[in-house]
């Protein structure tokens, strides 16, 4: 019988990391990620996990140590949030540029100033172009499942890119939920030890990350573009293999109640759960609404999003981060670009919500749905960008 545990998002990621036989963890504690690496260091101290925990003096050093270990052939994990991710920023590009298959848990948190420890997506959205595969979880179960899949995706020789598994700070990182876990042996079979193509080795010295001038730099970047494209196929394969193992089906995008939907809410992470509850209520009232939740944010799953949206006439795209001064906020810009490219005339408006941990309530989501239905009926967008629950 499947084993069910009560785990917070942080603990679910840590438990998955233990089962993935990670070799090296280098991390610096930061709220709300702290417990994630605390639990891992406890596993290592207790002998439940045979890994090297490197205590570092900053997140910049954490990612630097991860890159070194990954180049040496190790399976590597780190975790961070907010200012920590911001401090890592330059090393994030080096990790992807050097094709290090590092997996990182991010307990998404607002960026300072003003100082705020609560959940929003400003941190990861601030690094969205860093060349990492980026995955958002709705709950602790998804955080657990995606962490295991993340290593397999990252280490595939067709990909060799780092992956971030995102969980909403506090909302998921500190919330105990039912998590069905796999047996250690099953995870070991699914994820055999890493087989690196090239490793750094003191007896056979090589140079990595050397200067690359205008004659080659562009080609290296183009290879990263290709690798992210290749990741599409690999993610799909890994999802199918994981489904066979766990019975839980993952994809690029989850479509909820979308079959005959006229209007939809599209959002990342835990908010999708609340949106599903509201959609279920509205369906009972005869309103044809659904929810689209991208699990994978980078590479951006255009085809899956188009398929999930189906024949809706209007969609509200919810962003939990601000792209200051941009025509639309990050997720919405991607959706509009996707619709343009596929020649879809779906009316779109953008809702910025939940900054600095501001709760989004079922009532607020209900009024967003009502507006999508109104937009679908009239064919006119009343307001392109709305700020939900803010005092003006």
């Amino acid at each position: 019988m499947a084993k069910v545990m009560g785990l917070t998002g942080n603990e679910a990621v840590a438990y998955a990391v233990k089962q993935c036989n990670v070799d090296v963890v280098a991390a610096y504690p930061i709220t709300p990620q702290t417990i994630m690496v605390e639990v891992i260091s406890q596993y290592i101290y207790d002998g439940e996990m045979d890994a090297e925990f490197i205590c570092v003096e900053s997140e910049h050093s954490a990612m630097s140590a991860c890159i070194g270990a990954s180049l040496a052939g190790a399976r590597v994990f780190t975790g961070t949030a907010s200012q920590g991710l911001a401090l890592m920023h330059e090393m994030l590009y080096i990790a992807s540029g050097l094709r290090c298959p590092i997996v990182m848990g991010v307990a998404n948190r607002a960026l300072s100033a003003p100082l705020n420890i609560h959940g929003d997506h400003s941190d990861m959205m601030g690094s969205r172009d860093c060349g990492w595969i980026q995955i958002y979880s709705e709950n602790s179960q998804e955080a657990y499942d995606w962490t295991i899949q993340a290593f397999k995706i990252a280490e595939d020789p067709r990909v060799l890119l780092p992956v971030s598994v995102n969980i909403d700070g506090f909302i998921l990182s500190h919330c105990v939920e039912n998590v069905v876990v796999l047996e250690d042996e099953d995870v070991a079979r699914f994820l055999p030890p890493r087989k690196p193509l090239i490793t750094i080795d003191p007896t056979k010295p090589i140079t990595v990350g050397a200067i690359c001038l205008p004659d080659y730099y562009f080609e290296v970047k183009f290879q990263q573009v290709q690798a992210l494209k290749e990741a599409y196929n690999v993610i799909r394969e890994v999802n199918r293999e994981y489904e066979k193992l766990s019975g839980r089906r993952y994809d690029f995008v989850e479509a909820y109640a979308m079959d005959d939907a006229e209007a939809a809410v599209l959002c990342l992470g835990s908010t999708a759960g609340t949106a599903k509850v509201v959609a279920r209520e509205l369906r009972k009232e005869g309103k044809k609404v659904g929810v689209v939740k991208p699990w994978v944010y980078r590479p951006f799953p255009e085809e899956s999003i188009i398929k999930a949206l189906g024949d809706v006439k209007a969609v509200a795209v919810l962003d939990r981060a601000c792209s200051f001064g941009a025509p639309f906020h990050a997720l919405c810009s991607d959706i509009i670009a996707t619709l343009y490219r596929h020649g879809k005339d779906i009316k779109v408006f953008n809702c910025v919500y939940g900054l600095g941990g501001r709760d989004i309530t079922p009532m607020e989501i209900r009024s967003i749905f009502e507006e999508t239905l109104e937009t679908a009926r009239s064919g006119r967008v009343r307001e392109y960008i709305k700020f939900i629950g803010v005092r003006e």
Binding site: F170, H174, C175, V176, V277, D359, I360, T361, P362
Partner: protein, 185 residues
């Protein structure tokens, strides 16, 4: 669908997160779906803190905070009158309070009519059984008497797992005594 939303009131350092989680873990053993989460904020010893638990027969999808709980548990008696412990409580709700007063006395202090109230002198039980003023687990005993959310068996199991040995045994004794001594109106 059966869904119970519980709010816990206490002060930083009183183990609010611990008992919210123990209840959730016990419900999980009973085959339920659960969520247990603290009020999201910096922890400060002595300051009023709030915890939340959801228990359901079906997977819990909602991730917003709890605004209208059906049950409120007041772990720290000094909070009564200081903060509105009944804020948002659903009309036929339940308050389980740590208090040396009777349920009807407490009801008139709180000026509440339609709800049910249970009280238990958790401090007295803790001092007599544990010899220390740690009374959070007593509130679990009082709670499951007022509302059989989880079985005593499951609660005992998770308490023994969380506090192996004598400490666990004593806490189970506290829970059982609070279960006996809690009175409702």
């Amino acid at each position: 669908m059966f869904l119970v939303e519980i709010r816990w009131h206490g002060r930083g350092g009183q183990g609010i997160v611990t008992i919210s989680r123990l209840l959730a873990q016990a419900a999980l053993l009973d085959g339920k779906y659960v969520q247990s989460f603290p009020e999201f904020g910096p922890e400060r010893r002595g300051a009023p803190v709030t915890g939340y638990t959801r228990i359901s027969d079906e997977p819990i999808l909602i991730h917003s905070q709890i605004y209208s709980p059906s049950i409120v548990v007041v772990v720290d008696p000094t909070l009564i009158g200081k903060i509105d412990v009944a804020a948002g409580l659903s009309p036929k709700g339940l308050i389980v309070a740590h208090s040396d007063k009777s349920p009807s006395e407490l009801k008139s202090i709180l000026r509440l009519n339609n709800i049910s109230v249970y009280t238990v002198n958790a401090m007295k039980i803790a001092l007599e059984v544990l010899g220390r003023p740690i009374y959070n687990t007593a509130m679990l005993g009082a709670l499951i008497k007022a509302s059989p959310l989880v079985t005593m068996d499951s609660l005992t199991k998770v308490v023994m797992e969380r506090f192996p040995g004598t400490i666990g045994e004593k806490n189970v004794a506290v829970i059982k005594r609070a279960y006996e001594e809690a009175i409702g109106d």
